[in-house]
Symmetry: C2
């Protein structure tokens, strides 16, 4: 049976021992040859859920073929496989980082397409594992239904985003108004059609597998689509709310690996035996420092701090604004112990830098649990990587498992501590209320503003 070598999912506090080898692993062939018995045996039972065969002949999910580009293999042919893998990983890491900078330069719309692409690929990777776990039996309609459900849930979430952030654009287009006005009804009807199709596709001999795949699809949708919707919402708040969290997680991965590599002694968690406390703590402090500096650098540019707004007059995204207080330098008096260390009384900071400490603390302490979860998942289904999309790294999901929890945390953090409700969304809701409801709210708001001294009481003539 293929001996499981674990790379540690998102390269968290990395293995203190030499990196795993990919070459030379025998591709696990599929041991199960399909024998069609005459009697209509209930394959659902005989197969059970991957099921009624002894452990040894449960088909290993063969690692997918190696996709390292030929020219790279030739260029590195002289090296030992250990260093070859290092170089492949290194080159691919740099390529990814530079691609990322290029996309940032191209603007928020491209970033949104990138997020959508990553989400679909992660969904594809996890669903494909479901198929490979159950691959030998064709569940009727199932591939179509999985992708259909993905389409429905994306239609719903992206429609909500269009309704929230493209109100001015929507007002101009008649059909769009209809689609947005009845968006939830249309999305629910689309989902119901898929639900009914699933019920109609139930086949006696596959009931259990079909329900397993139904649950598998829905949990995957919950993890990938819902959270990538939150990533987009964070992006609309300002690119800095997208870049600092993501780069903190990446920084934590790399620094935890380095600290683990050089100082790693005490194992951290059984689930990832190669991860160490030294890597974990080292990663934490470096990530907090990194986040603090990155926040300082990015806070200077409107491009990164202004909420992303769609302007229908120029028909494109605009990031211009009067930066909020979060991104205006303020002077703080230092606490005593820092006064002694830094030998100065006061310091000027962007308030966002203080918030960045919360983000990088989460990225270092809780973010890795997303990685441990993915590690456990891969061990449960005896796979080394989610896929082989990126040579030397595995699948997209292997790179982004820690990012998912982070995205939800940032969204909840913003709505709890940073901004209240979205003003344009509140106005939009106001304008669809009944006239007398609008009038009541107008009067209440007027009294409130006068009480607060924001509005001068006007004497009626």
């Amino acid at each position: 049976m293929l001996e499981l070598r674990h790379r540690g999912s998102c390269p968290g506090p990395r293995e203190a021992v030499s990196p795993p080898h990919r070459e030379g692993e025998a591709a696990g062939g599929d041991h199960e040859t399909e024998s069609t018995s005459d009697k209509e045996t209930d394959i659902d039972d005989r197969y059970g859920d991957l099921d009624s065969r002894t452990d040894s002949d449960i088909p290993e999910i063969p690692p997918s073929s190696d996709r390292t580009p030929e020219i790279l293999k030739k260029a590195l042919s002289g090296l030992s496989s250990r260093w070859k893998n290092w170089w492949i990983r290194g080159i691919l890491t740099l390529t990814m980082i530079s691609l990322f900078f290029l996309i940032i330069y191209m603007g928020s719309f491209m970033l949104m397409l990138l997020v959508l692409g990553i989400q679909v690929k992660c969904f594809h990777e996890i669903i494909t594992i479901g198929y490979r776990v159950y691959h030998s039996y064709d569940l009727p309609w199932f591939r179509t239904l999985s992708w259909y459900f993905l389409l429905c849930v994306n239609y719903f979430f992206y429609g909500e985003t269009v309704a929230d952030y493209f109100a001015t654009f929507v007002q101009r287009e008649e059909q769009l108004q209809f689609l947005i006005r009845y968006h939830r009804f249309i999305s629910f009807a689309l989902y119901l059609a898929g639900f009914c199709m699933f019920v109609l596709s139930l086949v006696k001999k596959h009931y259990r597998l079909q329900f397993y795949m139904f649950a598998w699809t829905h949990v995957t949708l919950l993890i990938t689509v819902t959270q990538s919707h939150l990533v987009i919402q964070n992006l609309f708040e300002g690119m800095i709310w997208f870049l600092v969290p993501i780069s903190s997680v990446i920084c934590n991965d790399i620094t935890a690996y380095l600290f683990g590599f050089f100082f790693g002694r005490t194992p951290l968690i059984k689930l990832s035996p190669k991860k160490t406390w030294e890597g974990f703590i080292g990663g934490f402090f470096s990530t907090v420092v990194f986040g603090f500096i990155a926040a300082y650098v990015l806070s200077k540019y409107q491009y990164f701090v202004c909420p992303v707004e769609y302007r229908s007059d120029v028909n494109s995204f605009v990031t211009e604004c009067e930066p909020s207080e979060l991104f205006q330098l303020q002077t703080y008096s230092l606490p005593p112990f820092l006064k002694a260390v830094l030998r100065q009384e006061r310091v000027s900071l962007y308030p966002f830098q203080i918030h960045s400490i919360a983000l990088s603390t989460f990225a270092s302490l809780i973010g890795p649990f997303g990685g441990f979860f993915a590690s456990g998942f891969k061990r449960a289904f005896k796979i080394k990587d989610f896929a082989n999309t990126i040579p030397g790294h595995g699948g997209i999901m292997d790179r982004f498992d820690c990012q998912y929890l982070m995205a939800t945390f940032v969204h909840v953090y913003i709505t709890s501590f940073i901004r209240g409700p979205n003003p344009s969304k509140v106005l939009q809701q106001l304008l669809v209320l009944q006239p007398e409801q609008q009038l009541n709210i107008y009067k209440t708001l007027k009294t409130h503003l006068i009480e607060k001294g924001i509005l001068q009481p006007t004497l009626k003539v």
Copy 2:
């Protein structure tokens, strides 16, 4: 192996043949005796997911013991088992219906408690099936974690309801303000603690089962807790939005059963072979007529039509209002073919009665798919009922499977076609905006109201 007798989940277009017998079914004992091998075999693999034993000795989930009250058994002892079961079902049906009327009389708060109780029991029934499917292996922490996740998700949804509908009450209580202000952050932190506990509870030999149970719990939460939250939201819109849909589903169950019993010829769907087209169509027309009449009767009373509001001065729920246009009689001119049939030109109706046709159509055509889904689920795991909570009927889930889809449909219908955003929620969001955002919205609203002629322009002095 226990011959599967299918009662048809929510008693939809009922079996055209005699009802199933419960007595005399041998309780399927558990065939699997635990043999602890010395070598630490990976029980996850040897067991696989319920798994590596041939079909015949996959333990049937033994039907739970019969809970019919003794006095009932004695009273019916003379009858044949067929009629005994009929009487038990009939008596329990009448008991449930009268209990339901009593709770309606006691008011909306009691109805909310009833919904909460049903949700928790349905969750318990489905989770227990998960345990019985995998019961022979103790997954560490799992019962605690399942209930903990239920608590977190309920805390989140009920907190959102309190924030939406108890704004005045919340304003008065200092601590409550804090809890509501940071509600999403607290809920997310609670959930994360459970997520991290799950990761830390992963044990090498149980990985796969633990991930299956994790998915099982989350899909169950998705089905039961999310949709029961929508039932409560519908109830706040007015009791009529709760009663008409629920009674339409019950009416469809009973009438489809009767039509199937008396006229059933053509099988409807392989999944529930005893259901017939005659039952399905007969049920549809009777449900539409029933819904139309029920809407007419209930529309007369403020108690049923007014939105449920919490009034802090009387510290209780209040259902007093000026009924909206939906619940005011209006005269409509009849379409030609109806003029001929009814021999009258015009008719006075409540507009809600027209909406009731959409609700009862859904209850008859799409609602049953919730029942088919539950049937497929029970067949997949070879169980006859979700539990035996109600003698003669099975579990609570057996009675409510069709109601879940209905609740979501009603919620989406209300937000799409009936009311716009909730005015008190819009006002609440307005009051937490920044002063200059409030001022901008005030000015935009003022111009809008003046343009619409709802507000007279005031001449400044």
